[in-house]
Point group: none
């Protein structure tokens, strides 16, 4: 019996409410000057109060030492073993813009990027061009055809876009063209198994056509593709947990991920208060809410320690909006760590706070990486967060007599 | 290699003794007035002394968030993965009363219960009738025959009984008639696969006959059946650990469970001192003793915080009886938590204390949920308790050269 089968068997209907508040990239590393992480530097009276009443711990999204991408990080938070349940980046981005993937479609994530006259990548993001500019460029590429396969190209945000290859006999098992570094040539897309040779060939031809079409569009004079993938079929949150679920997220990828596990997507404004208010307005209609805060991760990726601190403080200030409605279970955590010092996602364990009237308190009085080491939840896999939330919401019956 | 195969491979004969003292439902939740759990409230100088000399931790019987029944909770303590090794409630209860199950028998657990004139269940336990009354009612039902299948009905305790269906072509894959709630009708027993249709049909006919026979026996005017099951074949404690094992338990279910894993059952009086003295008298004859204390769980289930505290204190007072004989390893823990505040089994991790002269002490100076968070055993699965006990008894050889 898998963990899902176990939970499916034990899940029972209830009227309790669960909120999962995800501060993307929450975990950090200490500022060398102060010895305190972003979370430890932030003034967070509300989070600390919740930590005092609730129970804390440290979660590993995938395994110890493994740095998760956004997909695996979130799947783990929703209880899906990210090694078993694999989503390509292309599919995730595509779902996030409400694009309707058809059976057989292969989706890839694209970056508009800058190459120099030798063809070397000098900016993987083309100076982060505007979304408007991105949309204009996508129109130039949209509908290109290679060997009876159409490339459907759609803008995402800034320099990001998706391309969906629609046609016969395509297989997603191909490598990226994005080299993930600068001062090198884009990579040639290659097949990882014989059946994918056609996709690799078409991918390379499409990149060549796009390069030609974009020649005069400096800084966006090249595209880089990655995450070729086909839409997977996952059991839904409702099937596993019997929860009517809703997602509140500003950035498309997280909405796409939520949709993939069957959540309904609620429209929201861009601010933290907007997101919290949308939850409040829809509180009666769902059992489970996933709220995604992007700012912590963006600041971490930019290496901006102080801005990450500010975003955490902003969340703390807005928290009363959630605590006022007194949810049965409130979980606050991240999908992975993004220490500003590393300017990237990292493998460091993620602080977890679970607040419920059925917590056994643990003596932790502040929400911080250091305090969470001694928390009552201990050190555990992020996939166990949902079973714990379900238990504290009294939504799991006893296992065995 | 499974964990069992590993242990089987490494287990070596020795003269050391291991005692596993199980305080059923030991783990608790804080009394809101004091912030202290039952175990933290109890005055336990002897347990605290053992915790100081030994090593502590917190165990999850099944998985984080999963509330175990008594069967899974105990199997985990004996080292059996409770998800892999599954015992039906009917079998467990039946074995507990020394009933000799034959091959092909299907056992179910029964409650005498009360229905009103509309047939709705108004008391699932018929006011907890006496064991004597239960025995009398069982005699009325015993030997009833449906389609060449005999129903053998035996009293357990209070309102509890077992029924063993003996005949050809029976399969245990049927649902319960016990609705597990009141103000609803008893459920119809239904087959979970085609082969079980005969059992479902016979079960329903037996319930109908019993209802008719009990019509005048208010409050015990109905029966509710659950946990239809066939006796499983598990490897024994002796096969896995090379331990000659004995069980000391007052309540039949725990004796049944111990017998299922091959333990010998020692007769005992009902008090904690009785149980401890029986161990002492049989100390030379076995390598491993499982002693079960029921009072902690009963008090927790009744929501009686103070009584649970008293039972823990009673165990503490009697402990010298066990420590005087200086066992090589003494493990004190629970099969799950039963917080008085919840009046039920719960998912909360269970405090574990392991005392041996080979412990690496951990700075814990009292046996409590809070102190165990910082214990040297950390947070772990209960199935790891037996390997740890074996190791501290110097009964496991080195793995690999």
């Amino acid at each position: 019996m898998t963990n899902f089968e176990l939970i499916q068997k034990l899940a029972q209907p209830a009227s309790s409410k669960i909120i999962l508040l995800v501060l993307d990239g929450l975990g950090g590393l200490p500022n060398p000057d102060t010895g305190r992480t972003e979370l430890e530097t932030a003034t967070t009276p509300n989070l600390d109060h919740l930590a005092t009443e609730g129970i804390c711990g440290l979660a590993d999204p995938v395994r110890r030492g493994i740095t998760p991408g956004s997909g695996p990080g979130h799947l783990a938070l929703f209880g899906y073993d990210p090694i078993r349940f694999n989503i390509g980046r292309g599919v995730l981005e595509t779902i996030g813009i409400d694009f309707n993937l058809e059976s057989g479609d292969i989706a890839a994530r694209g970056n508009f990027s800058t190459i120099n006259k030798d063809g070397l990548v000098i900016d993987r993001r083309a100076g982060r061009i505007s979304t408007e500019q991105c949309a204009k460029l996508c129109q130039m590429l949209d509908g290109m055809t290679v060997a009876n396969v159409r490339a459907l190209v759609r803008p995402v945000k800034d320099h990001r876009f998706v391309v969906v290859f629609r046609g016969e006999g395509l297989d997603a098992a191909v490598t990226d063209s994005d080299p993930q570094q600068i001062r090198v040539l884009p990579k040639t897309i290659t097949a990882l198994k014989p059946e994918a040779a056609r996709m690799a060939d078409i991918g390379n031809q499409f990149v060549a056509q796009a390069k030609k079409a974009l020649a005069d569009q400096h800084p966006a004079n090249m595209i880089l593709l990655r995450g070729f993938s086909r839409s997977p079929q996952f059991p839904t949150i409702e099937e596993i947990y019997r929860l009517r679920s809703a997602a509140i997220a500003v950035y498309p990828m997280y909405r796409g991920l939520a949709r993939l596990v069957g959540m309904e997507i609620l429209d929201t404004g861009a601010s933290i208060e907007d997101e919290f208010n949308i939850l409040k307005q829809n509180y009666a209609s769902y059992d489970f809410f996933f709220i995604h805060i992007k700012g912590t991760d963006s600041a971490g990726e930019d290496g901006n320690f102080d801005r990450k601190v500010s975003v955490i403080e902003e969340v703390d200030k807005a928290l009363s909006c959630l605590t006022d409605i007194n949810p049965d279970v409130l979980v606050i955590t991240g999908d992975h760590s993004t220490p500003a010092r590393l300017k990237a996602h990292s493998w460091h364990a993620v602080p977890v706070l679970l607040h419920s009237k059925w917590c056994r308190p643990d003596g932790v009085t502040e929400f911080s990486e250091l305090a969470c080491i001694g928390g009552g939840l201990g050190r555990f896999l992020a996939t166990e967060i949902m079973p714990l939330a379900m238990a504290h919401a009294l939504r799991l019956t006893k296992f065995g007599a």
